[in-house]
């Protein structure tokens, strides 16, 4: 290959990479479960389900080439200290703002350690509200602090 064509291809590749869609997120969720969460005091079990506020965190999509630049967001978790018996789910509670579009993710989906599609759209979107839910809690949960990292991955779609 000549050097000039190589140079042109390299410039093209560089420009293509610079235009990758970005995702950012802010916020998170911390929940404390104590004796006030018993279903009906002593002798009863813990409430099984806990929900964050509707806007526990926000995600923003940026750097799209235009309103027809399609993308999807996958979600998974990476555990630091987590009990697999307790299911973590997330849903989208707002469309955010922006001239692009967004769909899906309005019902809770379980977050596992493998990527699953969360929602999709096209173009830039700001401040998409996310809500979390923890289910399966019981007194079998040993006193401890459990945490996991939720990873949102944006995938550029044709």
């Amino acid at each position: 290959m000549g050097r000039v064509p190589f140079l042109i291809i390299s410039i093209f590749l560089a420009l293509t990479r610079v235009e990758a869609i970005d995702i950012s997120a802010a916020g998170g969720w911390t929940e404390t479960i104590d004796e006030n969460d018993l279903q009906s005091g002593a002798g009863s079990n813990l409430i099984a389900t806990y929900e964050s506020v509707a806007n526990a965190s926000t995600a923003s999509i940026s750097n799209c080439t235009g309103d027809s630049d399609n993308w999807r967001v996958d979600v998974r978790r990476s555990d630091s200290n987590w009990q697999g018996d307790y299911l973590l789910s997330a849903k989208r509670t707002s469309d955010g703002t922006g001239t692009g579009s967004i769909s899906g993710g309005l019902s809770y989906i379980e977050i596992t350690t493998a990527d699953v599609e969360f929602f999709s759209g096209a173009g830039n979107r700001d401040n998409i509200d996310l809500q979390y839910r923890l289910t399966g809690m019981s007194v079998n949960a040993s006193p401890n602090t459990y945490n996991t990292t939720i990873i949102l991955t944006i995938v550029d779609e044709p």
Binding site: A20, I33, E35, L38, G41, S44, S142
Partner: protein, 162 residues
């Protein structure tokens, strides 16, 4: 000129790779939940008055019992036990005993004489949520006690570490 072109090509490829590695296509958030130690007990109420007022001729007075109350426990810890005590000792020649039904996994200690020193009532309690566990009180007296005026005792039940 040749060196310039090669240099430019190298620079552009490097810029492309740099852009690739800096592309922020993931975002992270942390979810944390804390479960605190939960150790809750309750009782359903006070037992009825215990009165020793009969006897079979030739025998000590007949003890009186009450099993109208229950207790409940929730704990998410292991190696717990229930103890019991009263606020002041019983009059001479009278005895107040208590018997707590054990929750699943626990071991009841049967009829335990109450005193101002806490005694084990149920041992081996671990991660359980149960209610409706019967409490049985027994008041007994010998003839040596004579006539004893009505009195009250406060029974303190405690869930504690084994």
């Amino acid at each position: 000129m040749k060196k310039l072109i090669v240099g430019l090509a190298f620079l552009v490829v490097l810029l492309g790779l740099t852009a690739l590695t800096m592309a922020a296509n993931t975002a992270q958030q942390t979810v944390t939940y804390e479960v605190t130690a939960i150790n809750e007990i309750s009782v359903s109420g006070d037992p009825t008055n215990l009165v020793v007022n009969t006897a079979t001729a030739g025998s000590e007075p007949t003890a009186d019992t009450d099993a109208t109350t229950t207790w409940a426990v929730t704990t998410n810890e292991s190696s717990k036990k229930m103890t019991g005590s009263i606020d002041s000792n019983m009059p001479a020649n009278t005895t107040l005993e208590v018997n707590l039904a054990a929750p699943t996994g626990g071991t009841g200690q049967g009829d335990v004489t109450l005193s101002t020193t806490a005694g084990d009532l149920v041992t081996g309690i671990a991660t359980v949520a149960e209610s409706g566990l019967t409490i049985t009180y027994t008041l007994s007296a010998t003839i040596a006690a004579g006539v004893v005026a009505q009195a009250q005792k406060t029974v303190t039940l405690t869930l504690t570490d084994s």
